[in-house]
Symmetry: C7
Subunit: 82 residues, 7 copies
């Protein structure tokens, strides 16, 4: 069990400055360093890369992602392929 997560946004707070995987609707996927988020789950990633099938498709750099299109956000360190 992970300690210190009482509310969903606590995970995003703990992930600030760390690499996260952001899955969008419509199969788009980004990895990047989580710089900021708000209650609408708008996020800013640094060094963002658009991924496809585990490969980098495009380097986007700094980017603002609207929360509305996000399915999940996961700290990259805890994610691994089967």
């Amino acid at each position: 069990m992970v300690s210190g997560i009482e509310r969903p946004l606590d995970l995003l707070n703990q992930s600030k400055g760390k690499e996260v995987l952001v899955q969008l609707k419509g199969e788009k996927q980004f990895v990047g360093t989580l710089l900021a988020f708000d209650i609408h789950i708008n996020v800013v990633l640094d060094n963002a890369k658009e991924m496809q099938d585990g490969e980098m498709k495009k380097s986007i750099g700094l980017t603002f992602l609207r929360g509305d299109t996000i399915i999940f956000i996961s700290p990259a360190s805890t994610s691994r392929n089967k």
Copy 2:
């Protein structure tokens, strides 16, 4: 009849720390330990696994899921295939 469920969120509250199945729009399915949720039904799962046809497709680890994309959440212990 199950006791102690007066409002829908009571079920999520009872499921904290337990394994749940989360069905998303667009056929994505996750199983994991429910750590936290809020009134928007944003949830955090620990040891999350993306499932497909009852098989693990990918281990995601800790993950924040936006409520907006969720269809249903079910305690894994009560779910079984036909």
Copy 3:
């Protein structure tokens, strides 16, 4: 005419503890005992079963359904195929 239904939620209130049919967007259908609902039409079903073409596809047990994906909810006792 059915008595005692002044507002739409009155029907859900009368259906508590009874079997209901829940039709979701995207052709998913559930039957189960209605335990709880709220003003967002989030519902909890007990003994939920996912149905397809009138046959049980999967037993889900206790489940939380987000109101956002629901098309209609109907007391099972009043529903019959043609």
Copy 4:
């Protein structure tokens, strides 16, 4: 001109206890007696029947329809095929 309709909900109010046709997104259509509605356009129909191409597909009985999926509601007495 029809008298007594100042606001859109006035038509629904006048239609209480009468048969209405409810068109949903995704081509689903219901006819039934309008028992109740609210400002979200959630409605309860009695003796609801799911229709397809003007034929009854399924008798649903009493049913709660979420306003979110409704395209239009029309008093059945005023509707006729060309």
Copy 5:
């Protein structure tokens, strides 16, 4: 230039009692006399007709249209095919 239209709803107000064309999402189109509207752009049409390719498909009579599905509303007198 048309006078007296300061806000978008002014056009709907000027169109009360007149024939309008209502374009819905998903290619449905209605013509009818605008009886009422509200800030959600819910409208009531009298003598509503569902149109397809400029031909009447079905006479619907009095009908309540949810604003959510509406793309545009146009006074019929100002609309003409090329």
Copy 6:
């Protein structure tokens, strides 16, 4: 740089009485004189024309467009094909 645009609605305000191009979801496109708009980005166009591939498909005249379906609004004078 364009002066006098501090907030997005300033551009719409500057465009009143001028021809604009309105791009809707689902590939519909209108040109017309912007008469009015509100904070929901509902707009009224005069002399509206539905366009397809740069050609006029249909003259709609005065029309009310719901903001919900709008992707972008652009003063026609600043737009040109490549």
Copy 7:
């Protein structure tokens, strides 16, 4: 790490007067100078160009983009193809 970004809108604020890449739902992409934005992520771009596969498809000039259709906004200077 990028300094000065505490909240997601800080990135948009820092990008005012600079070229940004705006990705919309449905694969549309624009580049242009960010003139203004609001909390709905409505934005105004100057010298906007619609892009397709990295090539300019159409010059749109000044344009108002509704936040609702935006997936991400990225300062162009930080973005590069693989």
